[in-house]
Symmetry: C2
Subunit: 230 residues, 2 copies
Amino acid sequence: MSTAEVLASVDIVALRMNDRSQLDILLIRRAQAPFAQQWALPGVLVNGLTADASLDAAATRALAVKARIKPRYMEQVATVGDAVRDPRGWSLSTFYLALVAPDTPLGDEDLSFVALNAVLDRRFALPFDHAQLVALACERLAAKSTYTSLPLYLISQRFTVTEALAAFQVCLGQAVQHTTLRGRLERMKQHGWIVETGEKNYPKMGRPQNVLEHRPQPSAAFVFDRSVLS
Amino acid sequence: MSTAEVLASVDIVALRMNDRSQLDILLIRRAQAPFAQQWALPGVLVNGLTADASLDAAATRALAVKARIKPRYMEQVATVGDAVRDPRGWSLSTFYLALVAPDTPLGDEDLSFVALNAVLDRRFALPFDHAQLVALACERLAAKSTYTSLPLYLISQRFTVTEALAAFQVCLGQAVQHTTLRGRLERMKQHGWIVETGEKNYPKMGRPQNVLEHRPQPSAAFVFDRSVLS
DNA sequence: ATAATAGTGTCTGTGAGACATTATGTA
DNA sequence: TACATAATGTCTCACAGACACTATTAT
């Protein structure tokens, strides 16, 4: 290794909500050493040869070329670096949190969505320090879910209050009063972030649900001025 | 440059409050090319040769070695990377926000505290994309100052409400009701983050001030459940 | 009718915001 | 005394939280 350079990668913690309202994480079977054939976070090396315009562009590229996925939301979480996380030597990883639509398909056998909880409690082991990165990304998601509309990126643009409630609860890891969520959705409606479609969804039983539409602004997520679960 | 590696550095945005209650930023006169002799953010290269235990350790080292400063608070802000920010090629910079005590001395002629506002509005130009990094770090500080006790790290451990008010206002960039701040300090007092010393400070005019003491916990900063300036 | 689920209304508590009032020092 | 500044008190408003109540469908 030359004197001034270091091994740097971008890794993605991409989350999706399954039909049981639980979070799954996107993993890829590594093609190359180290840890070939093992399931790991999708990622790419960044260096001058892979003409990425920026680090964010590299993150987008990682999801696009490895999994053909365009996330509905993506943000940089942090960068970790030390001498032991990669057997090849001192290395850096800048990792991102990505939220993808619930119906996102996977075209490849080397890609899979795995139960996030299995990764978090180490029943499903990951190479490198990827389990740690996943934990940090989830902490970020939980923290931001208390005062932003982030969980809405995990459900369809056209959604019901019940779906939104499930998304918030799985992000936060605890129950949320539906009246609290309705109040927040109402405030987003006043700011044009949510519109009432006028349509109804008819479940098997019970009163039909109003169908809302999420109109996310480029500024990422709606920010409330208080935290839920104070 | 070898194929898999990249130039990576850690840069520090270290802020101090001066006696006019304005923020200053620590700059260092670069000894080496590129941009030798110019004022820039203190930072170090990270790679396998400089046995840093971790990225955070490298950040601490950067302040310690370059400026002999131990910050009262430090957190990673983000990592930027692209092909043009450094003339030497594709490079990464992980940058940190550091808050240092108001009486921090500088022992070196190649170190200086410069008015933060001059850097932010480009009257004082910085090399690389350092001005952009400074702007991002300040945004982080302002955002966190609405719902945490971060500004307290800019004043002495033993402080008065007036000093705390000045710190919050300069971090937020706008006026804050002193009653609001008193309420928040009261809540911190109940959680053991602040204690009443019983002493008084006697200014030239007016009623004497109670002297409080900030007892920061290792968990970084006190988090309030609402934002100020809603 | 009954069950099931959606949506609304009511009441309480907390804390920010604005402003008035009192307290305690110096000149 | 007048003045300056600190500290406290009062009132309003917004919103989370808890829970009751009403509404609308299927069976």
